[in-house]
């Protein structure tokens, strides 16, 4: 079961015609899919659409009733390949992943499906991981849409608009034989709101009504001469058809305004933030009545030249608000107007930052700039400016008041995380053998690059930790150490990493972190997830898999055993037989484990049964205040408090209530020979009578001994 259960929320997926649905964006998208006659859905987890995968998993019953097949694909490539179902057959399907990283992985299949064209409607839902909270390189999905000719939807971040985009997206796809991409930004995926539901509708064909007839049509195969013909079709048929469909169905909106000599063109996804900026300037109200005409692009690819010309024709200046770079839309609009007799000045990245997320304040500044440049008739710029200045001054005052930046609080390893001991071990090994080049991968384990570990020199992609060492290793004196998570391993690391290294006879050490789940994205099951926990009928082990592709030197080490890990690592680094040496660092994700353990503990307490918990503590008078323990272990539960010794300066370490008693900090104190201040306390609830008697006797004896303490200690 995943980290977050949506079992309650999925009930709202059953809402029928006219009922009001309330929930988060991704849940609304799921409902919209069920209303749209889809036959299959697939995807690969990753913020911000992880919850969509969880919702679909938890909605198994509803899916079954509607005959919707859902696949937790092994990678985005596998998910995208599912779309082949819609090439020949009238099956509607949807896939989802995190973009642009997922789209990179899926690009091969996407390009092929887009070339062949689709008969059943196809919707690709991408969670655009851009701006604040993003965990990937900052790029745009727009380029993928343009290069493969896939229509790109970027609806307003309101539930009715999103649901509408899903539904019309399928129609657009079928009308133009072209896949459609629906782009949802991070905050949009999580926005809570409401819309009016429709009934769920099953696909025309599905598991309950399977297709009977196989179709063969060479024109759909991406090989010459079909591939040439397909390119022609894109231009001669699909494109014009798309323009017609989009304008006839008014997918983009042209909103009127009082100041008709200027206008703003904005991506749908940015519209809400723009409205807030206009509201601040007193140019719009809370429900979106704007004094400036706005053309909202729900479809950002392709643009509709006719609509753009109509919007611009009587305006002296127009501002294009387009997030990210390059500014494809702005360029395209300029090209559209070029050579016509429309001489509207087009502003965009000249007044707004070329790169980075368009937050509300940035838009506010940009729009203010624009108004000064455009000087529309009827706006009193001077009063607007002075009103703005006052607020701006207040904001600056606040921002500079402290005089120093507050410390960052980046996400990091959780309390009791099984990955932390591995990195402590690596730190200890490096203390003995010097610094190594360590190739990172994608996953929670990448937190190792932050303090206090600072381990991992680079990361170039999911599952690519080992592959990314193969160019450097032969040119480096010391062996390279590569890290890979179990998620990345099954995504592609087994082939692109392990098989590749064995095949090419590469040397080096690979550490595969087996924590039992795709943990960073919320504990989705992966092939090696314990069967009892994944609820599936199979469990594939990492060790068998790597041996299966020819790896010989394979050791599995429990991650909390720092001593064994240090020895094994040292052995792997220093031992002579060349080739790939694999260490599987095994330890279940503590978040997942604690959910189980805590529930069991509570249940035991409720029925009065024996239940014990373990946690560690530190004797403040023994602690030296050196805090090497924090630097080596970094468990968030290790924190600081005032030193009880008035003669000492600097705080001492203390273990707070979050401790789950994994014992790692104590083990590290042992392994690294730190101070003897750590102790382990086992607290037993509802002890047996024997335990009670023994404890009583012990306390009595120790109490008597205490009584004989010199001068009342």
């Amino acid at each position: 079961m995943a980290e977050r259960s949506f079992s309650k929320e999925v009930q709202s997926l059953r809402k029928g015609e006219g009922e009001v649905f309330r929930g988060e964006g991704v849940l609304a998208v799921t409902k919209a899919l069920l209303q749209s006659r889809v036959s299959y859905i697939g995807g690969y987890q990753g913020s911000p659409i992880s919850h969509m995968m969880d919702v679909l998993n938890d909605a198994a019953e509803i899916r079954r009733e509607l005959g919707v097949h859902f696949e937790n694909a092994a990678s985005e490539a596998a998910a995208a390949a599912m779309l082949a179902a819609s090439i020949h057959y009238p099956l509607r399907g949807a896939v989802t992943w995190k973009s642009t990283v997922g789209t990179n992985v899926a690009a091969d299949a996407l390009a092929n499906v887009a070339s062949a064209g689709v008969r059943g409607g196809v919707l690709i839902i991408v969670g655009e991981d851009y701006g604040e909270g993003s965990s990937i390189m900052q790029e745009r999905t727009h380029a993928f849409a343009a290069k493969s000719q896939i229509w790109l939807l970027d609806p307003r971040p309101d539930l009715p608009a999103i649901v509408d985009a899903v539904e019309t997206g399928f129609e657009l796809s079928e009308a133009t034989n072209t896949p459609v991409m629906l782009m949802l930004r991070i905050r949009t995926c999580h926005v809570y709101g409401s819309f009016v539901s429709k009934d769920n509708r099953p696909g025309h064909y599905n598991a309950h009504h399977p297709l009977e007839q196989a179709v063969f049509d060479y024109n759909k195969v991406v090989l010459p001469p079909s591939s040439y013909q397909q390119e022609q079709l894109k231009i001669t048929e699909r494109w014009p058809e798309a323009l017609r469909f989009i304008s006839e169905n008014k997918l983009n909106q042209s909103l009127p305004g009082d100041y008709v000599d200027i206008g703003i063109i904005v991506q749908g996804g940015i519209y809400n933030a723009l409205n807030r900026a206009l509201e601040t300037l007193d140019l719009a109200d809370a429900v979106g009545n704007s004094k400036i005409p706005i053309y909202v692009l729900t479809v950002t690819y392709p643009l509709i030249p006719e609509e753009i010309r109509t919007f611009c024709i009587d305006k002296k200046a127009v501002l294009v608000i387009e997030e990210g770079q390059p500014n494809y839309i702005e360029q395209s609009i300029k090209a559209t107007l070029h050579g016509t007799d429309i001489h509207t000045r087009i502003h965009g990245k000249d007044l707004l930052p070329a790169a980075g997320e368009y937050k509300a304040r940035i838009l506010l500044n940009g729009v203010t700039e624009f108004l000064h440049h455009a000087a529309p008739a009827g706006i009193n710029l001077a009063t607007m400016k002075s009103a703005q200045q006052q607020v701006t001054q207040e904001i600056t005052d606040s921002q500079t008041a402290l005089g120093f930046p507050v410390p960052a609080r980046p996400p990091g390893f959780c309390v009791g995380c099984p990955e932390r001991p591995l990195f402590s071990a690596l730190k200890l090994v490096q203390r003995e053998l010097g610094e190594f080049h360590i190739s990172g991968d994608i996953g929670c384990h990448l937190f190792s690059t932050l303090p206090p570990f600072n381990i991992g020199q680079h990361t170039v992609g999911y599952g690519l930790g080992l592959a990314s060492s193969s160019g450097l290793a032969p040119n480096f004196a010391k062996p390279l150490i590569s890290i890979m998570g179990d998620g990345g391993f099954w995504h592609n690391g087994l082939t692109s990493g392990v098989a590749n290294a064995v095949f090419n006879g590469d040397n080096g050490v690979l550490i595969i972190i087996d924590n039992g789940y795709a943990a960073a994205t919320g504990h989705q099951a992966i092939p090696s997830t314990d069967q009892a926990r994944s609820g599936r009928s199979v469990q594939m082990t990492i060790e068998k898999a790597v041996r299966g592709v020819g790896a010989r030197w394979v050791r599995t080490v429990p991650s909390y055993n720092v001593k064994q890990m240090v020895t094994t690592l040292t052995e792997a680094i220093t031992q002579s037989p060349p080739g790939l040496k694999i260490i599987i660092s095994e330890g279940e994700c503590q978040l997942a484990r604690q959910r189980r353990v805590k529930r069991a503990h509570r249940e035991a307490l409720d029925c009065g049964a024996r239940a014990q918990r373990v946690r560690l503590g530190i004797d403040p008078d023994v602690c030296t205040g050196d805090r090497a323990c924090i630097r080596l272990s970094g468990c968030p539960s290790l924190t600081v408090k005032d030193n009880p010794d008035p003669l000492a300066e600097g705080p001492v370490t203390v273990i707070d209530d979050q401790c789950v008693g994994c014992g790692n900090c104590g083990v590290i104190a042992h392994q690294a020979g730190l101070c003897p201040s750590f102790f382990e306390a086992t607290i037993i609830n509802n002890p047996s009578w024997l335990e009670r008697v023994i404890s009583h006797v012990r306390r009595r004896v120790i109490g008597t001994l205490h009584a004989s303490e010199p001068r009342g200690r």
């Binding site: 809400n272 009545n289 203390r431 020979g673 003897p676």
Partner: protein, 484 residues
């Protein structure tokens, strides 16, 4: 109602991952909806809501839109600086973060924040004390917001057995910043959870604190008062005779420490040593300098003389106070059985050093020949069992023989050497002498850590005769960098 004149209420919640900021947001949403407001909220969870700082944003608007018109509120999805009405923060630095983001402004924002601190990694690992003072932080916030409500919500939550969000939710109700009744808040908590009782208790506390019904924080768990061995009245009187009044407080503390560590004679030795420093201090204008040299030397000398050895550790680990404190620290109740195991890793040297010099020499050469005990003895000793306790108690009992051990002799030699350097320096340059005093801070820790740091200390001592205050300070600071 006229749409154009109605602003949504804009609320930002600054929380730390894993704290359940999402739950608080849901409560706020449910509350507003139950009072006929339309609600939008969103958040940026980052990497699956692990430990980082997380911001939630909510807008609420009196509901007069319905789904048949296209006109409903347009939520900005992210707070706009200068535009936030209510800022909730579960920790003091998070309020500071919001201030720096511009989400707190004088003309608009009410801030409700817990005043407690959860330290960031940077604060924890920096050498010395890098903790940010929450009082300063919140004072700054106070001068830049419309109104600040702050108190230690973590302590309230602990007292009520609730989550911190319940206290914060109560504070929002108590502060009266939203146009909703107390009952409406309570109903929200009741709707959301089957285990509402503790959260309602937390809510009540938060409400009371914010509405000025009560200004006393629930009694924080006070540490058990220590009953350490005390110096005799006579010894104290002698000290007061010898030293200027300015430093009596300090010396009372240090003497207590020495008596607790060893005995009255040892405390006497301490005072004798310090007296030589006082004399030189006086001779070099110490009076006009508030006897800084005597004071600083007194502080460091006490620490050097109470060096950490296994006798000391065993002593501290077997004290009655420790057993009481420990149960409190792990929040154990009387009816629960608690087992305690201590992680100790004495090195061979630590055992050897408490032996007499002769015996110590023999063991060392044995170890050198056979490799016995070179990696230390990592043990997990069960201190709550009679045998475990006794084992440690026996080691603690070696205290009476400490002054005959080889370690003792070595430490005293180091101290004498340091003092001699210090006195010599004081005659040349008062500032240099202060630097020499501070060098004592280089000696740290147990086992290997101690050996290394003592080595660095001795290396610096050798350089003193030729150094000036500045050079010495630089040397000392360089030697202070942590190795791990």
């Amino acid at each position: 109602m006229n749409h154009r004149n109605t602003r949504p209420i804009k609320i930002v919640i600054g929380a730390m991952g894993g704290e359940g900021g999402g739950l608080l947001t849901q409560w706020m949403a449910d509350l507003c909806e139950s009072q006929n407001f339309e609600v939008r909220y969103t958040y940026v969870p980052g990497v699956a809501q692990r430990t980082g700082a997380t911001t939630y944003y909510l807008e609420a608007w009196p509901a007069f839109s319905d789904h048949n018109t296209n006109q409903s509120m347009v939520c900005a999805l992210m707070p706009c600086p200068g535009d936030v009405d209510l800022l909730l923060s579960t920790e003091a630095v998070e309020a500071g973060r919001a201030l720096q983001a511009g989400f707190i402004t004088r003309s608009r924002t009410t801030v409700i924040s817990s005043s407690h601190r959860a330290y960031a990694v940077a604060e924890k690992i920096a050498p010395g004390d890098a903790r940010i003072d929450p009082e300063f932080l919140l004072k700054t916030v106070a001068t830049h917001c419309q109104r600040l409500v702050q108190f230690d919500m973590a302590a309230c939550a602990a007292a009520a057995g609730s989550i911190i969000n319940a206290v914060l939710f109560g504070a929002v109700a108590g502060a009266g910043v939203l146009p909703f009744s107390r009952q409406a808040f309570i109903a929200t908590i009741q709707r959301s959870s089957t285990v509402a009782a503790p959260n309602l208790a937390g809510f009540d506390l938060g409400y009371a604190m914010a509405s000025d019904e009560s200004k006393d924080l629930p009694g924080a768990i006070t540490a058990a008062k220590s009953t350490r061995s005390k110096p005799t009245a006579q010894a104290l009187a002698a000290m007061e005779d010898m030293f200027p009044p300015d430093i009596h407080d300090l010396l009372r503390m240090t003497m207590e420490r020495l008596v607790d560590y060893q005995d009255d004679t040892y405390a006497k030795l301490y005072l004798d040593r310090l007296q030589t420093v006082l004399e030189v201090d006086r001779a070099n204008g110490g009076k006009s300098r508030d006897y800084t040299l005597t004071r600083e030397t007194g502080r460091w000398l006490a620490r050097l003389m109470t060096y950490d050895d296994i006798i000391r550790v065993a002593d501290l680990k077997t004290r009655r106070q420790r057993f009481i404190r420990l149960r409190e620290e792990v929040s154990a109740f009387e009816h629960q059985v608690v087992h305690v195991a201590d992680y100790l890793k004495p090195g061979l040297e630590e055992f050897v050093s408490i032996l007499s010099p002769k015996l110590a020499k023999w063991v060392r050469s044995f170890s050198a020949r056979t490799g016995f005990g070179v990696n230390g003895f990592p043990i997990k000793i069960k201190t709550s069992t009679v045998s475990g306790f006794l084992a440690l108690r026996i080691i603690a009992g070696l205290r009476s023989r400490r002054t005959r051990s080889s370690r003792y002799l070595k430490e005293q030699a180091t101290i004498e050497d340091w003092l001699a350097q210090l006195l010599g320096a004081a005659r040349r340059d008062y500032g240099l002498a202060l630097e020499v005093a501070a060098c004592a801070g280089l000696i740290k820790g147990y086992g290997q850590t101690h050996l290394h740091s003592a080595g660095r200390f001795r290396a610096i001592l050798e350089k003193i005769p030729k150094a000036d205050a500045d050079t010495l300070r630089r040397l000392r600071e360089a030697a202070q960098e942590p190795r791990l």
